[in-house]
Amino acid sequence: MANTKQAEALGHRKLGLGDDDVLAMYRQMLLARAVDERMWLMQRAGKIAFVISGQGHEGAQVGITWPMRRDQDWLAPFYRSIASVMTFGMTAEDIVSAHLAKGDDVSSGGRQMPGHYGAKRYNIVSLSSPVGTQVLHAVGLAMGAWVRGDDMVAMTSFGEGTSNQGEIHEAMNFAGVHKLPVIFVCENNGYAISVPLAQQVGGLSVAIRAQGYGFPGVTVDGTDPIACYAAAKEAHERARRGEGPTLIEAKVVRLTSHSSDDDQRRYRDPAEVEALKEHDPIPLFANRLRGAGILTDAIEELLRTEIKAEINEASVRGEARPDPDVSTAERYVYADEVWP
C-alpha cells in the first residue's frame, strides 16, 4: 500500500492521477525503453538496418502524451517519438515490424526508414525525414478542428535543432493568430546530431519564443513525467477552452548517439556522456515511485517480467510477418491503382 503522505508528495494526486495511473506511466516508459533497446540489439545482429532512438526522452514523451485522448486527438510525432507513439496506441509489435520494414508494418509497409512513425488507426500522422514539416500538419489538423468547431486537440513534437526551421515559425505564428488547438512539444536534448544547444538556439530557450506568438511557452524537466503531465494537461485544457496553443519545452537527455550511424564519442566528452545516465528518466522516476510507496521490488519484478515476455513475443511475431512484396512497389502512388 502506498504511503499516503509520501505518495501525496509525488504530486500526481492533485493532478487527478491515481497510483495506478503513475504506475501505468512507468510501465509505458519501461516498455518503450525495452523495445528501443531491443531494436539496437537487432541492429547489431544485422537484422535491422538503422535505429534512431528515444532513450532518455521517455519521461517527457509519456508524461506529455498521457492527457491526450487516443480516440479523438492527433499526434504529429518526430523520429524520437517511440514512447509518444506507443502511448497513442502503437504496440511493441508495430515498432518491431516497422524496424524490420515488414510488408504489413502499420507505419509504411516497409517503405520508410525506422523511426518514421505514422498510422491512421492511432491518429498518428505519417512522418517524413526533412525535419519540422510535421509541425505544420499538426497545425493544419487543429485548423480543421477549428473550422469544423469540434473538440480535437493536435500535438506535435520535434527537437531543439528542428525548432530553428522556418516552417516552425510559420506554424507557431499561424496557430497563435487563430488560437488553434495545438500543443507544440520541443524535446530539447541539447544536441542536434553533433551541434550543441549554444550553437543552435540564440537565447538558449525555445519556450521563450512563444511570447512572440502570443501564447504560453513553458519549460519543464523532461525527466519528470509528473511535471510533464501537468504541463500537457494544462495545455490540453487551454486548447479545449479555445484559448489556443501552448509550447512545452521539455529538457531531456539523449542517452544514445544520434542514430546507429553516429558515434557521439567523436564530439562529446566521455565524462559528459557518462554523466547523462544520472538524468535517465527511468531510474529517476522509479526512485520517486519507490519513495512514494507505489513501486516495490515485487511490482518492478512483475513489470519487467511482463515486458520481457511482451517484447519477446513481439519480436517473434514481427519477424514472422511477411516482407514487402516487390510487385506492390508501384501501389499507392495515387488513389487510382491504374495509372497511364
Binding site: W74, A76, D105, V106, S107, S108, G109, G110, R111, Q112, H116, G118, A119, K120, V125, S126, S128, S129, P130, T133, V135, L136, H137, A138, V139, G140, L141, A142, M143, G144, A145, W146, V147, R148, M152, A154, G166, E167, E170, A171, N173, F174, V177, R331, Y332, V333, Y334, A335, W339, P340
Partner: protein, 328 residues
Amino acid sequence: MTELNILEAIRIAMDEELERDPNVMLLGEDVGRKGGVFGATEGLFAKYGGKRVLDTPLTEAMIAGAAAGAAIYGLRPIAEMQFADFSYPAFNQIVSEISRMRYRSNGTFGLPMVIRMPYGGGVHGALYHSQSNETYFTSTVGLKVVAPGTPADAKGLLKAAVRDPDPVMFFEHKKTYRLFKADVPDGDHVVPIGLADVARSGKHLSIFCYGYMRFCALEAAETLAREDGLEAEVVDLRTLRPLDTAAVLASVAHTGRALVVHEANRFGGFGAEVAAFIGEAGFESLDAPVTRLAGPEVPGVPFHHSLEDWFMLNPAKIVEAARALAAY
C-alpha cells in the same frame, strides 16, 4: 450556358464546391476580405465566413502544410499561392510531404487538396510575378497537374480537382483571367482530370499546348488556314500529369507532325516529355522531327514592355514555327 471569363469560372467553381461540401475551404493570402489579388475569391468571404475562406499570414509553407494537415483531418482545402512564383517556400511541403504522403504511408493517408497556382507572363509582372514553373511539379510523382485554357475547363477541372482524392496543382494563366468570355455549362459541370481536348481538328500538323497557349494556338491556326492553307490540329492537353498519351498519339497518327508549345523555358520543360513520348511511342507516325516552341532561356520575364514582348510567345511565333515544321 453562361458566358464567363476564366476568372469568373474559377470563382463560380469554388462557390459551388463550398456550397456543395462543408469540408471544402479556401486559404491563402488576401483570399478573404479582399477577395484575392485577382478577384478569384470575391464575395466568398461574405458568403461562407472567415474560417472557410481564410486569410492567412504571408507564409506559403504554412498555407500548403496546414492544408495538408486539414486534408488529413478530412477537409478538402483549396490553397492559393498568390503567384506561382511565390510557391517555393512551400516547395518542401509540396514535394517532401504532399506528393509523397500516400506512398510513404502505404496508402493509408491520402491528401485530397488543391493548390491554385496563378502563373504566366504578359501581365507586366517581371521575373517574380510571371513564372511558368509547372515543370517542377509535373516531374514530381504523386501530384496531379492541371492547366485549363477555357472558362468551361477552368470550372470543370477545378471541380474535378476539389473532388479528387489526390493533391492537384491547378495552374491558372493570369493573362487568360479576363482575356475572353466563352460559354460555360451551368450547374455541376465537371471535366475529368487526365483528358486532353482537341480544340481544332486539322490534318497537316498537331500543336500541343495548354493554358494561355491554347488561345494563341487557335489564333495561329486561323492564320495558317487563311494564309497558308495549312490545317493545324490544336490539342489542348489540359492535364499535364497524368498526360493523355492516347490523345497525343492519336493526333500524331492523324497529322504526322508535332509542335509542342509552352511559355516555360525549353530546356527540360514539359515539351521535352511530350516530345520524348512521341519519339518513343509515335515514331512511325512522324513525317518530321518533333519540334518545340518554348519560352527563352532566361531566368524570368523581364519587365520593360519591349523586353516582355520579346519573351512572350504569341500567335505570330506559333505561325512561324508551324510553317517551318510543315515545310520540313
